[in-house]
């Protein structure tokens, strides 16, 4: 089963939920935790451990100037404006390139080949028995998050239980993360900001046809609006975590709620069971 943890709004506690769920389940089964928030990966902060790092690359064009006659076809074809044909050479702007391979296809002189260019890394570790952690990390200043998410998910492919932690938002990186997941946990907080962004996240999950449930985090008891929305959308509230300075402090020092306060493990076990039934997985 592949579970996604997402939220429209940032900072609602996605990583906290993913980390505690994986920590709790790892004592009884094999769990793979995948950090798909590749712009700001944080899960490794909860699970410090020796790790192996590999590079993620994407192919970018390299022009053989001796074979190029500056006909301009590559620049004309590129939809992203990444190639400009100057009088005496080709100017390539790598940050605009999407690695579609179109320039190599249209070059009549076969003067363009592709070479891998590093865009980020994947880090794999085994921080505790039963757990594999895969963290994708985008190089700073690089705009291409999607290929890293794709690569991170490939490393977890075939594992029995995969939990993916997403970036906030609702655009391409989130779609890439959700793709192929069996169920999705949407973490929100009971403020107008949280609710507004929850509505967007629910919409994305529905478009991708992924069953979703909601966790209300840092609840101050004034959850009526959120509960009303969930009831109207037929969304289960899987869990409500109250606001407390103690939980906030456990979090901020990089500790896990279920490690510091083991009684919470029961709640996360029951969250897992609810996710299984959301995903339609038989026991």
């Amino acid at each position: 089963m592949k579970l996604a943890v997402a939220s429209g709004k940032g900072g609602t506690g996605k990583s906290m939920v993913a980390a505690n769920l994986a920590f709790t389940l790892a004592s009884t089964r094999q769990v793979t935790l995948v950090d798909c928030d590749v712009e700001e990966p944080n899960l490794h902060l909860f699970f410090p451990a020796p790790a192996t790092t590999t590079e993620v690359t994407m192919p970018v064009p390299v022009v053989d100037e001796s074979a190029c006659d500056h006909c301009g076809k590559c620049g004309e074809f590129c939809q992203y404006g990444a190639i400009t044909v100057l009088r005496d050479r080709i100017l390539f702007l790598p940050e605009l390139c999407h690695s579609c391979g179109g320039c190599t296809l249209v070059c009549p002189n076969s003067a363009i080949r592709e070479e891998p260019k590093r865009i980020g890394t994947l880090t794999t570790s085994a921080p505790m028995s039963g757990m594999k952690l895969v963290s994708g990390k985008l190089d700073e200043g690089n705009p291409h998050a999607v290929p890293i998410i794709r690569a991170a998910k490939i490393l977890a492919e075939g594992d029995p239980l995969v939990i993916c932690d997403s970036a906030p938002g609702t655009s391409c990186p989130v779609v890439e993360m959700l793709d192929g997941c069996d169920a999705c946990i949407l973490v929100t907080e009971s403020t107008p900001f949280g609710l507004h962004d929850l509505e967007l996240a629910v919409d994305v999950a529905a478009r991708l046809d992924i069953p979703a449930g909601v966790i209300i985090n840092r609840s101050d008891g004034k959850d009526q609006e959120t509960l009303r929305f969930c009831a109207g959308q037929d969304l289960d509230v899987l869990m409500t975590i109250p606001f407390s300075r103690e939980i906030a402090a456990i979090q901020s020092r990089g500790d896990l709620l279920c490690r510091a306060r083991p009684e919470w493990q029961e709640d996360f076990c029951s969250l897992y069971l609810k996710c299984r039934s959301l995903a339609g997985v038989e026991r």
Binding site: K9, E39, E40, P168, T170, A201, R245, R253, G254
Partner: protein, 294 residues
Amino acid sequence: MIRIAVISGKGGTGKTMVTAALSRLLSGSLVLADCDVDAANLELVQSPRLLRTDPFMGMKSAVIDPAACVQCGECEAHCRFGAVDRDDDKYRVNPLRCEGCAVCTAVCPAGAVTMQPRQTGEIKYSETARGHLVHARLVSGAGNSGLLVHAVKKTALERDGQCDLFLIDGPPGTGCPLISTISGVDAVLVVTEPSVSGLHDLKRVVAVCRQFRPRVLVAVNRWDLDPSQMEKIEAWCRDENISLIGRIPFDPAVIDAVRAGVPVTETGASPAAQAIRTLAVTIEQELSNPDRPK
């Protein structure tokens, strides 16, 4: 015109709340932009009156004409984004995955694929108590949020370029939308929180900012929730020669103000409101002193 972007690295640190309050406190004429186009929230605390809405056309998307398609599969074989689906020998393009590269149009022997414009969002132009607000809505699941950020900023500059101040509520993260947001700004205010994740993400986002030209200023929200992490952030800023100019305490008045749809500085003299007022004064001092280090 001075251009300031409020960003955070980590999501949920209180960027939007700080931006909304600053919009009321900083002096001079002002135009606002919400560049967190994935989840635009600034409007929830600015009571905007919508003046106009314009469609946002993202990248074109490939469309296969089933009548002309010869089912050769070349488009599927060449698409690097997995955007061509096959159903019983019928090929169609999944617009959520299509990145608009047009390779399929180049390889199709039957000329059955064309690139079609697709509306992936809208740009809204509104009036608020403190100048115009440019905000947007991205069709959920659509790509090109960086492009939409760019369009939002351009709309603000074209319509209100004469204002003294351009204040931007930025996106979380360090990728494409963030880079679009900070390009061309004079200063960024990074709003972070005292946690291991907050500091980690602060370091990453500052590294990205340094590849551009803005002055980097830092404020810590809910700083008293973990004074020991706060000390680490202070030490790091000192080592990196970055101005840590704001310390906003945890304050339930903030959530109450958000629920009331106004910035916390409009609901009386709460501790958070006081801290943000001090922050606004410091920002004005920092920006009037061009010799400070980046």
